[in-house]
Symmetry: C2
Subunit: 246 residues, 2 copies
Amino acid sequence: MSGRFLNKAGADEIVKALTIKAVMGKSLFSANDRILIAVSGGKDSSVLAWALSAIRPALKFSYELSSLHISTDFCACCKKSTLAQRLEDWGIPFTDLFVPVIGRLQEGRKMNCYWCSTQRRTELLRYAVENGFNKIALGHHMDDIVETFFMNLCSKGRMEAMPMSIKYRKFPVTLIRPLGLLEEKQVIACADKLGILKTACTCPYGINSGRRVMRKQIDVFTGGSGDVKRRILKALAEGDRDYLIG
Amino acid sequence: MSGRFLNKAGADEIVKALTIKAVMGKSLFSANDRILIAVSGGKDSSVLAWALSAIRPALKFSYELSSLHISTDFCACCKKSTLAQRLEDWGIPFTDLFVPVIGRLQEGRKMNCYWCSTQRRTELLRYAVENGFNKIALGHHMDDIVETFFMNLCSKGRMEAMPMSIKYRKFPVTLIRPLGLLEEKQVIACADKLGILKTACTCPYGINSGRRVMRKQIDVFTGGSGDVKRRILKALAEGDRDYLIG
């Protein structure tokens, strides 16, 4: 199994196959859905946009794709024209939205990941609702999901990962993660094969160190094995969680 | 918090306090329960037997304690008279039951942990049922529970730990783990303080290496922090596990 999933030559086919498996197996979207893809310009969201476009012929229904990039007041290096051109090549409209993340900070408050991601997520959701999109697609992959699970388990003492699909209670929008069955290295291999270069800014704050530490610890823990991560994902997805502590 | 829980001088008091917390918080047993303690002669089950006896004055109800040791045909070095004497000192009757674990192997089959533990568990359950015990107490602590959780997660792809309390479906018996809130090092500190020496055999097969590897990996993962393990235990115990994969 590992061999098949690590075949670099067919990296794009693997991404398509596992994206279709996620979309169909988890009912991520269906006919006439209007899907807004959150694109940072990084490899993950770029591969996501490509994949959602590339699997159109294989799916037997029509759906709309569009993309939104959020620019901020602390990051101006993003090559947006390259990103826009790439998305146009894949037949996906592109919108750039400016959000003054620092400008919205209350006086005396320091910039942090939580504040920034909340501001971005809020604007993303507002844009989707105002423009009639009923699905928001995010580029998180299996490593992100497993990492988040372990961070919440060890830091918060909570059993929370990233659902492949979760509906907002108060809004007519569902978050979906169509790359959830793919390992990060499979996503990177696909980006490399397709010649997708990173066009996102590197965060100048660089304060996301908790996640980096956890990533290294998980590598020790799983021995870097994709099979182990897939088993963890299977456990997270299964309904039977009754045999825990009691 | 760590400081309090690592105080060696009060190791016996810590064990008593966290055993009472488990018994009351998880309703492990109550008035008139008849509890059979599975004793190997090792430190864990010895501390368990001591603790269940030592917390009698603090609990406002009466319960019966007895103990069962299972001897096998491949392990004859156990100092049973020392074990029996120790239990008698604590007011706990002791029974030794011989189970021919190797003798029951089918021809051509090799000895393994699964076979041995199944034979022992079956005989333990049979003895409890035949002698009217409605609770079986096992000496597993927090490290055992966390280890089992991670082994099942990574090897089997299942969300299974060791419940603090679980009733057999087909028998009128409930398994309980009163040391479940204690770290292994807290149990060892208590055994040391009480002068409890190990009287169990060391398994001559020594084939339980998967668990040893997992134990080391968890140490790397948690940085050996009891707080991290307690947060994991809290997550396992909580009812809300809906925000996983969806």
